[in-house]
């Protein structure tokens, strides 16, 4: 049985390296994106084999799912710009000349040249070889597991990963939430997005499926969030699932999407960090330390933060998919 598992691991490893290689070597961008999504799924499988289901979940949802969607939508816009350039005249006047179009134009560099291939490969091999050598000499370390286990009873939750993320090292998690927000602020600073016209799907199948899938996605998202206190799951995974539901709705829109209202959208996007920070400030004032909780209050506060964070992450992911800021944000 053990031999079979080793065989499986080797096949998986070969698959990951092979897919990554094909993805990098592909001169066709669409093919590269599809291979990247495959790469993400294989990587999620590898995390399962490494007994890290939390990361596997996040990798599948964010690394393969949402990132794949972002890459595909970027590719779609890139294509329309390329077609525009080839035909020699813009087929639609860009509503904002400094908008996301400029970014896409800058991104579309020619594919890498052949002569960079050998140096890049040898560099990767040298660094990889050194890494393997360094890892080979490492002792089998349990890391912080014993320390975390010893403090689980006062952490407020039953899942060690959630205890580390939301209690012992809450500061890191707060900053990760902030990074999602900063990425969105950066994307928004580049320009407004155009009005999103309707894209009526031919036939009833897509709308019908969505009517079925979106509620399922919402229930799943809430479940994953809830499960985070005692099993793999949590705000990032739940936010990604809810964000995916939102992206599906944006993709399959039977009528023109209304512009998002500025103020509520900003408040929703900052809800996660703002609430986290408020709780942290309360901890500072009440004497539990910045970002600390009283033991008895740990669970409800963690749950509150996770709910707000899930909402903000889901909103931010959908907003990143739409790219530029909505016109309502400038009012």
């Amino acid at each position: 049985m053990n031999g079979l598992l080793v065989l499986f691991d080797l096949v998986l490893l070969a698959g990951i390296v092979g897919v990554a290689w094909r993805c990098l070597a592909s001169t066709d961008l669409f093919r590269a994106v599809v291979l990247f999504i495959t790469f993400g799924l294989l990587l999620a499988l590898a995390w399962v084999r490494l007994e890290a289901p939390d990361i596997a979940l996040a990798e599948a949802a964010i690394g393969a799912g949402i990132t794949g969607a972002l890459l595909l939508v970027t590719l779609e816009r890139l294509r329309s710009i390329m077609a525009e350039r080839r035909s020699g005249r813009p087929h639609t006047p860009p509503p904002d000349p400094t908008g996301p179009h400029a970014l896409l134009r800058a991104l579309h560099d020619p594919p890498p040249e052949r002569r960079t291939f050998i140096p890049a490969l040898s560099f990767a091999l040298v660094v990889g070889g050194l890494l393997v050598t360094a890892l080979w000499h490492q002792p089998h370390s349990t890391g912080l597991e014993p320390v975390v286990d010893a403090h689980m009873d006062i952490s407020g939750v039953d899942h060690p990963i959630t205890a580390v993320l939301l209690n012992f090292r809450a500061y890191d998690t707060f900053l990760e939430l902030a990074i999602v927000l900063i990425a969105l602020l950066g994307a928004w600073s580049l320009g407004r997005h155009d009005l999103i016209p309707a894209r009526p799907a031919p036939g009833p199948i897509l709308p019908g499926t969505l009517r079925l899938l979106v509620p399922v996605a919402i229930v799943t998202g809430v479940y994953v969030l809830w499960a985070g206190s005692h099993a793999p799951g949590g705000a990032f995974q739940a936010g990604a699932i809810l964000g995916a539901a939102g992206i599906l709705l944006v993709l399959a829109r039977p009528r023109q999407l209304p512009m998002a209202p500025g103020v509520p959208l900003r408040l929703g996007l900052t809800a996660g960090v703002a609430l986290f920070l408020l709780v942290g400030l309360y901890g500072l004032v009440a004497g539990h330390g910045f970002l600390g909780y009283a033991d008895a209050w740990a669970y409800p506060l963690i749950l509150l933060i996770e709910v707000a964070a899930t909402l903000s992450i889901a909103l931010a992911l959908v907003a990143l998919f739409v790219a530029g800021r909505p016109a309502g944000d400038d009012a």
Partner: protein, 494 residues
């Protein structure tokens, strides 16, 4: 040391992090008032940092007791995260506050469009908060995350104007940053795998010169060198600065790059200290000499004002590399290096702000056509010259004291019998001459006879702030002793 001070210090440290974050979050949630939030926040953060430094200097006359560690959420290391304040971080926090306040005031005039203002201030305040958190962090993984906060907001600010040149510069900067961050993270992972802790002080007690430490040192240093634009990994610097808004260039060259350098220094003084060998020091020093020569030559050749200043950053950072072999001979020299970095950051930020004023007035920054504007704007030219004099290291400026001390350390190595020390001394002295050449190139047109044309009107903020900051940079020499004494309050460092 009064007990009240020692009691308040941890709360004041956590409070600084909290305050910077509150300002950033508030500006993000309320973009309509972002500039007012930003201005009030800038004043509050600066006041808080100055108060903190007063507390810190009063609390710790004993160098061994001076590092104050704050357990976030009440969880002590190795379980939790510790904030860490010592003389080194205190100095850089004050530097960040001074440059940050100047940049904020300047931005009041520079970013005047209502819509641009809404985008600029939240990003800038996140960047500032990120820098404060970076200097206060005492945990390897947390350092990675704060670095990400800093880099991501810096990238967004570089792309801020949204023109194709700005965006392609920003994308290049983004790729470099991601590569640097991943390299740094790999090093963190290696260290954690070997020693099972992330806290820097705990790591310091456990590291020795083994294969893991060597590999981690290479990965983390290379990643940070990439981010600090240290030669030969500087190629992203000029394109990123070329089209970034002036306040962003000032912060990028003055603070962000210095932040990465701070981290290299902190790691090599602590975790990687057992790995530093003379041969390694000479290699780094050689890179520094090459950076000095190459950066200066590029600055002499560049045709645009901001490119000259950007390349001068490459050259000036060569000094910091040259200082590495000196530190191996005279361990106390690291304080001089930090003082040099501080003076450089102040001067460089004011040069970039002055350049931004000129560019705004003239509508471009081609050196050949700037003569008219230079002649008509003596105040800005004076700021440019004053900061330039400090960069060159003429007597009585902060730059002079820093270079003098560096030179002294270099001569010390020569006297100690090191032949290669002669090269360091020549590089330090020659670099000053090259700096004089490219800085005179910038201001020379102002002294030619010719037509005067003030160009477009600029706000008083843009007129006066560069001058103020340049004065601070020049006067920094007077604060030399204070800075060196503050730096001496770093436990564990020689």
């Amino acid at each position: 040391m009064t007990p009240a001070n020692a009691e308040w210090l941890p709360a004041a440290i956590a409070g600084l992090v909290a305050l910077s974050l509150v300002v950033a979050v508030l500006a993000t949630a309320w973009p309509r008032q972002a500039h007012r939030v930003g201005l009030l926040g800038a004043l509050a953060i600066t006041a808080w940092v100055l108060g903190l430094s007063a507390l810190f200097l009063n609390a710790g006359p004993d160098p061994e007791a001076a590092a104050t560690r704050v357990a976030l959420g009440g969880w002590e290391a190795p379980l939790g995260l510790m904030l860490h304040l010592d003389g080194l971080s205190m100095t850089l926090l004050v530097l960040t506050a001074v440059v940050g306040l100047a940049t904020s005031l300047y931005s009041l005039g520079y970013v005047h469009d209502r819509i641009e203002r809404r985008q600029f201030w939240p990003l800038w305040l996140w960047l500032w908060a990120g820098l404060n958190m970076l200097f206060l962090s005492g945990d390897a993984f947390n350092l990675y995350i704060t670095l990400e906060v800093v880099s991501l907001s810096a990238v967004a600010l570089v792309a801020f104007t949204g023109t194709a040149a700005a965006v392609s510069g920003a994308v290049r900067y983004l790729l470099v940053n991601i590569l640097g961050s991943l390299s740094f993270l790999m090093g963190v992972v290696l260290l954690f795998g070997e020693h099972g802790v992330l806290d820097l002080l705990l790591l310091e007690t456990r590291t020795e010169a083994g294969p893991t430490e060597r590999m981690a040192a290479v990965l983390m240093t290379a990643g940070l060198m990439l981010k600090a634009a240290l030669f030969p990994l500087h190629v992203w610097l000029a394109p990123a600065h070329g089209s970034a808004p002036a306040p962003v260039s000032a912060v990028l060259s003055g603070l962000v790059v210095t932040g990465s350098f701070y981290l290299i220094l902190r790691l090599w003084m602590g975790v990687f200290a057992p790995l530093a060998t003379p041969a390694f020091g000479i290699l780094v020093g050689m890179l520094g000499v090459a950076a000095l020569v190459w950066g200066s030559l590029q600055a002499l050749r560049a045709g645009r004002l901001k490119s000259i200043v950007a390349y001068s950053t490459v050259a000036q950072f060569g000094y910091l590399l040259v200082a590495f072999p000196l530190m191996l001979v005279d361990p106390g020299a690291w304080r001089v290096v930090v003082f040099f970095a501080v003076v450089h950051a102040l001067a460089k930020a004011s040069v970039f702000l002055a350049a931004g004023t000129l560019q705004h007035a003239a509508g471009h920054d081609r050196l050949a056509d700037l003569g008219d504007v230079l002649r008509a704007r003596p105040r800005t030219v004076f700021a440019l010259g004053l900061a330039g004099v400090s960069l060159m290291g003429l007597p009585f400026t902060g730059g002079f004291i820093a270079k003098y001390l560096l030179l002294e350390a270099g001569l010390g190595t020569v006297l100690a019998g090191s032949v290669i020390g002669v090269l360091w001394v020549l590089a330090i002295a020659g670099g000053g001459l090259l700096a004089a050449a490219y800085i005179l190139r910038m201001v020379a047109p102002a002294f030619h006879r010719g037509h005067e044309d003030a160009g477009e009107a600029v706000s008083p903020w843009m007129d006066w702030v560069p001058l103020g900051l340049a004065t601070v940079a020049a006067l920094a020499g007077l604060a030399g002793t204070l800075t060196l004494n503050t730096l001496a309050l770093t436990p564990g460092a020689p």
